[in-house]
């Protein structure tokens, strides 16, 4: 049996993925080896190969291809000032 630990929090849960295929408003997005359909109508000019942040079944913003953990870049810049 699968137990969902205390239900799912779908409201703010978002995950980045890469667009593999586009058909109109629907993209097939790859999330670390898991593919699912995502609605891309809320972002402008989505292209195959681009990274998007997906939330509640929709892409909410495009992301750069750089490694997800860019955090320390900012920190390094801040420390350098």
């Amino acid at each position: 049996m699968i137990t969902i630990l205390l239900y799912n929090a779908t409201m703010c849960l978002a995950f980045p993925g890469r667009i593999l295929k586009l058909t109109g408003d629907t993209a097939v997005v790859d999330f670390d080896g898991v593919e699912k359909d995502v609605n891309v109508s809320l972002i402008k000019g989505a292209k195959t190969g681009e990274y998007v942040m997906v939330h509640a079944g929709f892409a909410i913003q495009k992301m750069g291809e750089e490694d997800a953990l860019e955090v320390f870049k900012l920190y390094k810049e801040a420390e350098g000032k």
Partner: protein, 348 residues
């Protein structure tokens, strides 16, 4: 360059600042992320991380919950995001309504709600989607309304609540950890009207750690700015397409928040143009019969004050004593992003 360095510098800055510092995170997902990473236990003793009103389920007013439950008990199929299913309204929860035979569907997206409406219901049956959440989920609801989905909107705009907290001044807020995904939609500019240190933050543990560092730096340098830590996602102008979608379908109205009461201009109401899909108009006859005077929050429950950051779950008299995730009394214990639920699951 790693988390140990950041933590070390956080401690140095905290010592330099000297006094008690109160930082508020205002997104339910941040509440969860902080707890999952065990972050609070690593912070200096004078740096406090308080939870604000960022859990969409928790801030939904009792009247709105009672309204949607009344609709489903009157035989109208209802769809909602999962967390809302077990929140106790004045006449039971949606989950309990479902056990009694009402058609209640918990969905991951408005697309799923549309699919249920189109394929799982009888032709003449309508489906009312309980539209809750802030600027991150409002665009999806707007899109679905344009595709013909009927919606009961309890969507809210987030900044008015952040502003209200500063204006009410019950709690001294030295800085805000701003919500990453709301910001992806609205951008960084709207935060500039609040004159308090702010950092727009991502959701990895390191994101939050760096944000705390950036906020302490502002305080140490006596700056008050809006900084963006979540550069990989948040652009200054946000997502104009998504914002456009929201305001094509919705207009600002007063919002009814648990814990705050009415906050002017913080609610999203479906425009006249789309009145055919507005459940509040379509089902006015059912909603008018609901006795909202009974929509009282459970008396001992301190969710309202917890949402405003005034109390922590441990200060609530029913926390763990009658109110648990299995048998919740208030929404803060139901939602996996609610302060009480998170504290219960992750406190040592």
């Amino acid at each position: 360059m790693n988390e140990t360095d950041v933590l070390k510098n956080i401690h140095i800055l905290a010592k330099k600042i000297g006094r008690e510092v109160n930082l508020m995170e205002v997104c339910g997902t941040h509440t969860q992320a902080v707890a999952r990473a065990g972050l609070k236990s690593l912070l200096p003793k004078n740096v406090h991380l308080t939870t604000g009103p960022g859990c969409p389920v928790c801030v939904t007013a009792q009247e709105d919950i009672d309204a949607i439950i009344s609709l489903t008990l009157a035989g109208i199929p209802v769809a909602t995001y999962g967390d809302m299913m077990r929140v106790p309204g004045s006449f039971g929860s949606l989950d309990q309504a479902r056990e009694k035979g009402a058609k209640v569907f918990d969905v991951y997206s408005t697309e799923e709600a549309l699919e249920i409406r189109n394929s799982k219901l009888e032709i003449e049956e309508d489906l009312v989607f309980f539209g809750l959440g802030f600027e991150t989920t409002a665009p999806m609801t707007a899109y679905a309304i344009q595709k013909g989905l009927t919606v009961y909107s309890t969507h809210k705009l987030f900044l008015p609540a952040m502003k209200a907290l500063l204006e009410i001044g019950e709690l001294k807020i030295d800085g805000y950890i701003c919500p990453g995904h709301v910001s992806a939609i609205i951008g960084s500019r709207p935060y500039e009207e609040m004159k308090v240190p702010q950092v727009i933050t991502g959701f990895q543990p390191n994101d939050i750690l760096v944000s705390v560092y950036m906020l302490l730096r502002q305080l140490a340098e006596k700056r008050s700015e809006v900084e963006n830590e979540y550069v990989r996602l948040v652009k200054e102008s946000g997502n104009p397409e998504a914002l456009g979608e929201i305001f094509e379908v919705f207009e600002k109205t007063d919002g009814n928040w648990r814990g705050f009461g009415t906050i002017p201009g913080s609610g999203l109401k479906i425009k006249e143009k789309y009145r055919d899909f507005d459940a509040k108009i379509k089902y006015k006859d059912i909603l008018d019969k609901v006795d909202f005077s009974k929509s009282r929050k459970p008396t001992a429950c301190k969710c309202g004050e917890i949402i405003r950051g005034l109390k922590s779950p441990k200060d609530c008299p029913v926390y763990k004593k009658g109110c648990t995730p299995d048998k919740p009394i208030g929404p803060c214990m139901v939602s996996v992003e609610g302060a009480c639920n998170v504290e219960y699951r992750y406190e040592k």
